[in-house]
Symmetry: C2
Subunit: 128 residues, 2 copies
DNA sequence: GCGTTAGTACTACCTTGGTAGTTTGTTGTC
DNA sequence: GACAACAAACTACCAAGGTAGTACTAACGC
């Protein structure tokens, strides 16, 4: 019984989830306001999307009077990991170093970021 | 003019591309054989998918008699980077360390892999 | 020559993400 | 009590991924 597939989410769904993760709960109107670039979208677009997402088990809602207050039903970590692992496995056969290598050559990474990475890896090495 | 969107490919498309990258060229039947789990799919499924992919600019073909020989029209690096960057940006706001951190906690990573990562980062640091 | 085989082409259907208009119902206000 | 405002529900479309059956056609074997 596949527990809500979290590795294939569209950009809009992701952005909506981000708003919910950040705020805990939000009405359709609040999601709409907080959504980056949400001004371009109709109110009903957000509402429809939220209903679809609820049908897929990504969010839940409770009623507050006639207004629905939505809440994420999947954890941020669950989604982040699900999507990141999906790409890692499908594209790089699970070889993390390959993935990082691609990303390092493809973009600017600050020195601070590199240092953080070094620390992460060193720590992980110590634990194994 | 958006150059073929390479960040949103389905799993089947990806697997087909992998076969083509690996072999250079392949007929529908060859792709079908090489496809992991391809035995579950109908021949026409692969053929249809290839035609759709050609329409999207992902592959091209030449005819060899009555048989079509397909070839990838997008580079592996282009796709890998496109998809990896997409996830990195959408999910982790571009913070590579966050992404790696998630991946490191979510799965087993061999010591050899960790060492390779260290080397990559050290090298990158030297260049900056 | 004729039938079998092995290709592609065409068509069709389902799902999901994305987008939004229209309808219906509730609520609060004058 | 009538009406305006607003929220959700319903309906509708489009694009794309995925899947495959059916139709057409060229080649090959006998």
């Amino acid at each position: 019984m596949s527990q809500t597939q979290v590795h294939r989410l569209g950009d809009l769904q992701l952005q909506i989830l981000k708003v919910l993760w950040q705020r805990g709960e939000a009405s359709v109107a609040e999601v709409h306001e907080q959504l980056p670039g949400g001004a371009d979208l109709a109110h009903t677009t957000i509402a429809t999307m939220l209903r679809k997402m609820e049908a897929r088990g990504l969010v839940t809602h409770r009623a507050n009077g006639r207004t629905f207050i939505y809440r994420a039903a999947v954890a941020e970590d669950q989604v982040s990991q699900g999507m990141a692992e999906h790409v890692l496995d499908r594209l790089f056969e699970g070889r993390l170093a390959d993935m990082v290598s691609h990303l390092l050559t493809a973009r600017e990474v600050s020195r601070a970021e590199l240092t953080r990475l070094e620390q992460l890896i060193a720590e992980r090495k110590r634990q194994s």
